[in-house]
């Protein structure tokens, strides 16, 4: 199983570590010695006709972090409102959120594009981030978690003099930290891997994200006399790195939270 998953990664590593000529004809079985050179070249200069990969990584990072932070903030607040406050149409609001869960994201692309265009958000970070931060899934997960907190916790805090905001900061946030960590990982990877939306909303090359950039490279790469698979694979390795780092970092965090057993 592990071998099957690792094989494409290994191929990417091998390809990224050779000179382009070496990849013609017989594909080498062992990594070569040009990995650092190739990585340095794509990071600093990029492929002919593209922006340097460090800019793509930065764009992706800004977009992914923006989506993650925005999504978590919006969804934890709306779940808090739905669970802890009684207001008119509370259940209607919840079901409205819940129904959007059923819709594939692509369905709302064109209306969303229309709105984004009318707000003059095309070719901007806001345009990349804002339309993607509403999340029914995260809201639903936070709601389910809040429902497992005993009602008397809120009562006790109220008697102790904590208002809604204090209760949120002192009780709900610290108790949700493992859920936040888990969702952070999922949403970050989701944000990082966005392909279609950035492709639609950005035409300016300086907003190219790494995922859409790679697609461009493959198209461009084929038209060269000598396909630069070494550089494309180097970029692919770089694109892989941030989600892996986030998963590893956050994993330690939420396992710690789970083994703390103070729930």
């Amino acid at each position: 199983m592990a071998t099957i998953i690792a094989l494409p990664l290994y191929l990417a590593l091998v390809a990224a570590s050779h000179a382009p000529q070496a990849l013609l004809g017989h594909f080498p079985l062992l990594p070569g010695g040009k990995l650092l050179d190739n990585l340095g070249e794509v990071l600093g200069r990029g492929l002919p006709g593209t922006i340097p990969v460090w800019r793509m990584l930065l764009n992706s990072l800004i977009m992914a972090l923006g989506i993650t932070v925005g999504k978590l903030t919006i969804s934890i607040l709306s779940a808090y409102a739905v669970v802890y406050f009684r207001f008119p149409l509370r259940m209607a609001a919840f079901w409205l959120i819940f129904f959007t869960l059923m819709m594939p994201i692509e369905v709302r692309f064109f209306p969303t594009y229309q709105i984004t265009a009318s707000l003059h958000l095309l070719n901007s970070y806001n345009g990349l981030i804002v339309p993607l931060i509403a999340s029914a899934t995260a809201t639903f997960l936070f709601r389910q978690f809040f429902m497992t907190l005993p009602r008397s916790l809120a009562d006790a805090a109220r008697i102790d003099g904590a208002g809604p905001i204090r209760f949120f900061i002192d009780m709900v946030l610290p108790l949700s930290r493992t859920n936040i960590a888990a969702l952070f990982v999922l949403v970050f990877v989701y944000g990082w891997n966005q392909y279609l939306w950035p492709l639609l909303t950005t035409t300016d090359a300086s907003y190219t994200t790494i995922v859409m950039g790679m697609q461009g490279m493959i198209n461009a790469g084929a038209s060269f006399a000598l396909p630069r698979w070494d550089l494309i694979m180097s970029t692919a390795l770089l694109a892989l790195l941030p989600p892996v780092i986030v998963v590893l970092l956050m994993q330690r965090w939420f396992i710690k939270g789970l083994t703390d057993s103070d729930k």
Binding site: D155, D160, D170, D262
Partner: protein, 354 residues
């Protein structure tokens, strides 16, 4: 410390009435227990006193101040919950001081109060632990500690002992009683357990179906239950109840398939259909006794023995001291003293005084 007064307090949730108009005055320092079956409105009443629910009508006064419109935190009360409701991510010390810190009490004062409460409840070694590292009894004590550090005017307990095992429950019951004797803070304690009610209360408030059935000392409500409900609810096992018809002399009670009972004085009632109640300990074994009971089940509890049986076709329980020498299948003769009889109207369930 303060008095608590309820004036015609009511509560409805939509169309359902949770609490019918209820009035009650609790003097300063008294320990009052609200007792009743689940759904009788006792917890709703307590939550309204705490300010966690808004009464539909009526006034709640704490220390002669109307508190209907005050937030729970402004009422100067403290509450202990059934599941303790400790803040799981905070150490015991922070649990105790959270309310004080929100009120902006100064550090030295907070430290003094924590010291005092920890000493009183034996929490000294637990202050730096988290609630998850505590046993049930310790959590209960922390919950009580969180209530007393605030030095409130009123303690509210919402079935605080029902999550504990039997032995610990008895132990904590004694601790709560001792705590009240030392602090003398007015206390309202809600429970469905009549043993807790009888042992803890200075006054018992028996509730049923959203209204107060009877208020009195544990002795009063046990000796003179005001209704069939109170008679059957208090005492373990509850009072034996027999359907009876009143004779024309108004002093003879006719019970199906059992010898009639004579009251010492005629009843002043026009009702014929009555219920007569006899406590299990008021039935004495007597070979010449007028009543005969077929023993169906014998429960030996050590200090006492319960004999469950049938008199005619009506069930009956007899409580005897020690290891009584009767067994299943035997027939026991019983004597009923006429002072031990409780008579109730069968239709309304109300007590009729002889």
């Amino acid at each position: 410390m303060a008095t608590l007064e309820l004036r015609q307090v009511t509560k409805s949730f939509g169309d359902t009435t949770a609490l019918q108009p209820t009035s009650l005055a609790i003097p300063d320092g008294e320990f009052v227990v609200l007792v009743g079956p689940s759904g009788c409105g006792k917890t709703t009443l307590l939550r309204m006193i705490a300010g966690l629910e808004t009464p539909t009508g009526g006034d709640i006064l704490i220390g002669e101040r109307r508190v209907n419109d005050l937030e729970p935190s402004a009422r100067d009360i403290a509450m202990v919950f059934q599941n303790y409701a400790l803040y799981p991510h905070m150490k015991v010390r922070d649990n105790l001081t959270y309310g004080l810190r929100l009120r902006g009490a100064d550090k030295a004062e907070i430290a003094r109060r924590v010291q005092w409460a920890a000493g009183l409840l034996g929490l000294g070694d637990l202050l730096d632990r988290k609630p998850s590292a505590l046993s049930g009894g310790q959590r209960q004590r922390v919950a009580m500690g969180r209530a007393i550090v605030r030095e409130p005017q009123l303690f509210l307990f919402d079935e605080p002992l029902s999550n504990l095992d039997a032995r610990l429950r008895n132990h904590m019951r004694v601790e709560i009683k001792q705590l009240h004797q030392r602090l003398k803070t007015t206390t309202v304690f809600v429970t469905h357990d009549q043993v807790e009610a009888m042992t803890l209360a200075q006054r018992v408030v028996v509730m049923n179906q959203g209204r107060i059935e009877q208020v009195g000392t544990p002795g009063e409500v046990y000796a003179k239950p005001s209704s069939v409900f109170v008679a059957s609810f208090l005492g373990a096992p509850g009072m034996n109840l027999f359907e009876a018809e009143l004779g024309t002399d108004r002093a003879t009670l006719h019970i199906a398939q059992a010898a009639p009972l004579r009251l010492s004085s005629p009843l002043d009632t026009a009702e014929r259909a009555l219920i007569v109640g006899i406590r299990p300990e008021a039935l004495m074994p007597d070979d010449q006794g007028a009543w005969q009971m077929d023993i169906v089940l014998r429960e030996a509890l050590g200090a006492e023995t319960m004999l469950h049986g049938q008199i005619g076709n009506q069930p009956c329980v007899v409580r005897l001291a020690g290891d009584a020498p009767w067994h299943e299948g035997q027939r026991i003769g019983l004597r009923v003293s006429n002072e031990a009889l409780h008579v109730f109207d069968r239709a309304s369930g109300v007590r009729i005084e002889p």
